[in-house]
């Protein structure tokens, strides 16, 4: 789509000036009114800063300042610690409309979503008549360049007004200053929400926001790990359009159909290629350049009929369940939510484009009970603030019956109400937006069903949490009964009768009549280097110390017969297992299993395990399961349903 608008613009440039183009399309470009304009400008600048830092492996430290003058004119300053921009490029990037680097890359990035930073410069120039200023530094031991520029709207070229060098303390980075007409009073809330949202899906970024009144808000970094670097990939055969297929075939260097398929598409190995050719009834040695339209059609159809591996997810950079949970937790601190659950779907494909859905639910605390749940939508780590009603995530959420998960929803359809925040994040090499304003994701079947699956998984976790809460309360009651009340009853009655206090073991067993499992989780800070962690890129393994999550699980047999069973503790994928006692029977990526020896009545076992590679409180609830015992005998663990 961005490509389409670029071509469109190129055509039009001959006829109309960019100023005119901008004026006509102001609305879809996000500058429709002074409130939107403010948010869009912040967004363009912050997105670029994040992209630039990530691309060069720098943990982003971004500074946003708004100074407001009277008559609606605001000065916007955005500064980053990124790689900087070479002097020669600055006029192009800031002074030419639609001069981007990302329009053609099949790779996840934010850039795809904006009209570009030059639009902000143009908007500022059109509304205030003032020039923009860019300071940039690319090397530690060299001075920074300072460029003042305007846009020549007739030629779509930049006018460099002034250029100089200056000393800048930063090792590298970019600072962008622009004056725009904007409504700060109204826009403030959106800017804040936008930055907070950015911080939630970019836990590796630190953002400082300075408001016109001088107050500063810090959105803290919650992880030192940069997102995995995404890499460009080839199109996936599923859903690649016929036209594109033909075009690729005409331009390929391959002489044979089989090598064409293998080299131009992702996920095509020998076996799949053979299967596709057979299905299409095409000779694998055909020269792709000589194929007929009918043959392409057959090939195109065959793609759909053969099971082809999902595209490599290398090109995607999802946030990950643990990190989403952590940053949601961090950003919702004042709400003190009751719990946060997240779910991450495996990567999937629509029309040959890989995508991946992540979802999260924040529940309870001081969130309002009567309002609709708040929806937070993100695409490639960029918050989507407008057009919620048109977004596929909204319709996916609305189609789930939330009533059985403790939320209100009239007739089981629509956005539920209750004390919750729903987060949806889609990562994709190409986000299918409904329009150029890039605020809503189109109604694509594959995406909708993945979003539904992600939320169903969250909902199941919510349900499990609620069950667990009820069970915990019951357990606690029983515990209170046997540890506090019953001994008191015994003491009092024996005192009254002047008799010795009777032993209570057997009565306790009778009252409880369960196998009781209770766990506690503690965190210990380690001063040494962290244990190796799957969350780390080798490149970014430079953290000082980390946390060890220590779980102690106590199993007590309060049945009147000996019990022997297996216990499973589910662990997060990102975690690395440290010491475990007693000796486990099996360890996988997802769980630890113990075949416990026989426990006689009133006897107890302590099970202990350590997890590394997680932050404090990333893991705050054990998920325990039992096997080879009637699950109704057990309080504190569910039935193991298999791997």
């Amino acid at each position: 789509m961005a490509e389409a608008i670029a071509h469109e613009l190129a055509k039009k440039q001959k006829e109309i000036s960019v100023a005119e183009f901008f004026e006509r399309n102001k609305h879809i470009l996000g500058f429709g009114n002074p409130t939107r304009a403010l948010v869009t400008s912040v967004k363009e600048g912050v997105d670029n800063a994040l992209d630039a830092c990530e691309e060069s492996g720098i943990l982003p430290d971004i500074y946003v300042e708004i100074r407001n003058h009277e008559d609606g004119e605001n000065k916007l300053i955005i500064e980053d610690n990124g790689p900087g921009i070479v002097k020669k490029q600055i006029p192009h990037i800031f002074g030419r409309l639609l001069y981007g680097s990302r329009f053609h890359a099949i790779q996840q990035s934010r850039g795809q979503q904006g009209i570009g930073i030059s639009a902000v410069v143009l908007y500022g120039q059109l509304t205030t008549g003032k020039h923009a200023k860019v300071i940039s530094k690319i090397q530690e031991d060299r001075p920074a360049t300072i460029t003042e520029l305007a846009i020549d709207t007739n030629k779509n070229r930049s006018d460099v007004i002034n250029r100089d060098i200056m000393h800048w303390d930063k090792p590298s980075g970019t600072r962008f200053e622009v004056s725009i007409v904007a409504d700060y009073k109204r826009g403030k809330r959106f800017v804040f929400e936008y930055l907070q949202s950015v911080s939630i899906v970019n836990p590796h970024a630190q953002i400082t926001f300075k408001e016109p009144d001088g107050s500063e808000h810090l959105f803290e970094r919650t992880t030192d790990m940069l997102p995995r670097k995404s890499v460009g990939i080839k199109p996936h055969p599923y859903g690649v359009e016929l036209g594109t297929l033909i075009k690729l075939a005409k331009n390929t260097k391959s002489r044979k159909l089989s090598s064409f398929l293998k080299s131009e598409f992702s996920s095509m190995g020998d076996r799949t290629t053979k299967a596709v050719c057979e299905k299409a009834q095409l000779d694998k040695d055909f020269n792709p350049k000589n194929m007929s339209r009918e043959q392409f059609l057959a090939l195109h159809k065959a793609f759909k009929k053969v099971k082809i591996m999902a595209p490599t997810t290398e090109c995607l950079s999802p946030i990950g369940e643990t990190l989403i949970k952590r940053s949601l937790k961090h950003e919702t601190q004042e709400i003190s939510p009751e719990f946060i659950v997240t779910a991450s779907r495996p990567a999937s494909v629509y029309s040959g484009n890989p995508f991946q859905i992540e979802a999260g639910i924040v529940y309870g605390g001081s969130l309002p009970r009567d309002n609709s749940v708040k929806l937070m939508r993100f695409a490639n780590r960029v918050p989507l603030l407008y057009q919620q009603g048109d977004c596929v995530s909204t319709s996916a959420i609305s189609s789930i019956d939330w009533r059985r998960y403790g939320l209100d929803q009239s007739s089981g359809k629509g956005i539920p109400s209750g004390p919750a925040i729903f987060l949806t994040h889609i990562s994709s090499t190409l986000i299918p937006f409904t329009s150029e304003s890039k605020e809503a994701i189109a109604d694509i079947h594959e995406i909708e069903s993945e979003i539904k699956l992600a939320f169903r998984e969250c909902a199941r976790k919510v349900q499990r949490h609620i069950h667990k809460k009820i069970r915990r309360a019951k357990t606690r009651e029983k515990f209170e009964l046997i540890t506090k009340i019953l001994p008191e009853i015994a003491k009092k009655s024996s005192n009254m009768l002047d008799k010795p206090t009777p032993s209570l073991d057997k009565v306790i067993t009778k009252i409880m009549d369960v196998v009781w499992i209770e766990d506690i989780i503690e965190y210990e800070k380690t001063s040494s280097k962290p244990v190796q962690s799957t969350l780390f890129d080798e490149s970014s393994e430079k953290r000082e110390g980390g946390w060890i999550t220590k779980s102690t699980v106590m199993v007590v047999n309060y049945k009147n017969k000996p019990q022997k069973f297996n216990l499973y503790a589910v662990i997060p994928e990102d975690a690395v297992i440290g010491s475990v006692t007693p000796q486990p029977t099996k360890i996988t990526d997802n769980y630890i299993k113990w075949n416990l020896d026989t426990i006689i009545p009133a006897d107890k076992r302590d099970i202990y395990f350590e997890l590394a590679g997680l932050d404090k409180e990333d893991f705050d609830e054990n998920d325990l399961y039992v096997e080879n015992i009637n699950p109704s005998y057990v309080i504190g663990a569910d039935k193991w349903e298999g791997d």
């Binding site: 009964l481 008191e488 009565v507």
Partner: protein, 364 residues
């Protein structure tokens, strides 16, 4: 005055022993007592009152609430034992405040501790008074040609005439009305009239109804206290005077009558001490609403539910009550004693009561 408490101590100890023995033999401790609900009261032909039936409720330490109740029970019986030993007594309210110091066993509210005291009566067959517990409520009032001899707090006997020796508010019934405390001497009257509201009691006093109609007037003060019911019962037995109950015309007032005449559900274990089977309902009846064209209010939802529940209450199964309750439900209305003032302040004493008394064959 020092009475023998051996039996009380024995029954209290038997509760502690039951719990202790359960624990010792590895049983979950439990105590059984009759179920104290409407569905479990039966008419006792011998005693002529309503008593608890055979349904038993188990208080078991298996649940947390049950265990708490049991611990509280242990504390309460221990406390009672201490009071007996020290020859002290306390009000129910005092006991509630004392329980504040019982740590885990403390009550959440006074109704809880009052109700446990009742449970103990039910379990042991003793009376609250045996446990040295007395109620808070001040006694109801009596006016009429009746002489009472009361043992005062300085242990002297004092005769009180309930017209000549009292002011307009009458003789105040003490919480203990047993023979050791009061005895009835002379009574020159034709009947006892038990009145629900203070306003009506005062009206009859002002109009001189006690002298003009040879009546002993007793103010019930709403749902009557145990001592008031016991007082009426003893007076009825001793002096062979008919008892007439005069209340508002609504379901709650019928329950007041029920507790005077048949025994209350909450205290069915001691109905034979408290209930006066010979008591009769004088009015105001739903028929009176029609016959006397009394001002009315609409029945509320709660009123209707209470009336319906009375239709299934074993105590209200005779044809009089069935008829009146059904009539009231169809009228959809209720009325008050004082609604009779519609026809003037003297109407109740000049017309209504004489007519009703004649109807009931008490007066000609």
């Amino acid at each position: 005055m020092s009475r023998d408490y051996t039996n009380v101590i024995n029954s209290i100890n038997s509760i502690a022993s039951k719990v202790y023995n359960d624990l010792e033999s590895s049983e979950i401790p439990n105590l059984k007592l009759p179920t104290r609900t409407k569905s479990n009261i039966q008419f006792d032909d011998k005693l002529n009152v309503w008593k608890y039936g055979k349904n038993m409720t188990e208080r078991s330490a298996k649940s947390l609430d049950g265990a708490y109740m049991m611990l509280r029970t242990m504390y309460m019986v221990d406390f009672i034992k201490d009071m007996i030993k020290a020859n002290k007594s306390s009000t129910l309210r005092e006991m509630y405040y004392i329980s504040e110091g019982w740590d885990l066993a403390k009550f959440n509210s006074q109704p809880e501790s009052d109700s446990l005291a009742e449970d103990l009566e039910v379990i042991t067959g003793c009376m609250r008074e045996d446990f040295k517990l007395r109620p808070e409520e001040d006694g109801a009032r009596v006016i009429g040609n009746l002489t009472i001899e009361e043992v005062t707090r300085n242990k002297t006997k004092k005769k009180i005439h309930c017209q000549d020796d009292v002011g307009d508010s009458g003789y105040s019934i003490p919480y203990n009305v047993e023979p050791e405390k009061i005895s009835f001497k002379g009574a020159d009257a034709d009947f006892i009239l038990a009145i629900e509201t203070g306003g009506m009691f005062d009206r009859l006093v002002e109009n001189g109804f006690d002298t003009s109609n040879r009546a002993i007037l007793v103010h019930l003060k709403g749902q009557p206290a145990r001592s008031t019911r016991r007082f009426i019962k003893r007076l009825n037995k001793k002096k062979k005077l008919p008892v007439l109950v005069f209340t508002d015309c609504d379901p709650w007032s019928y329950r007041i009558f029920g507790s005077v005449a048949y025994g209350a559900i909450k205290t069915a274990h001691i109905s034979e001490y408290l209930a006066t089977p010979a008591a009769q309902y004088l009015g105001v009846t739903p028929s009176d609403i029609e016959n006397y064209k009394l001002p009315t209010d609409k029945l509320t939802k709660e009123d209707i539910n209470a009336l319906k529940s009375e239709l299934s209450d074993p105590r209200f199964q005779d044809s009089f009550w069935k008829h009146e309750i059904k009539l009231q439900l169809s009228l959809g209305k209720k009325s008050e004693q004082q609604a009779l003032a519609k026809y003037g302040l003297d109407y109740v004493t000049e017309t209504y009561l004489p007519e009703k008394l004649a109807e009931m064959g008490i007066k000609k």
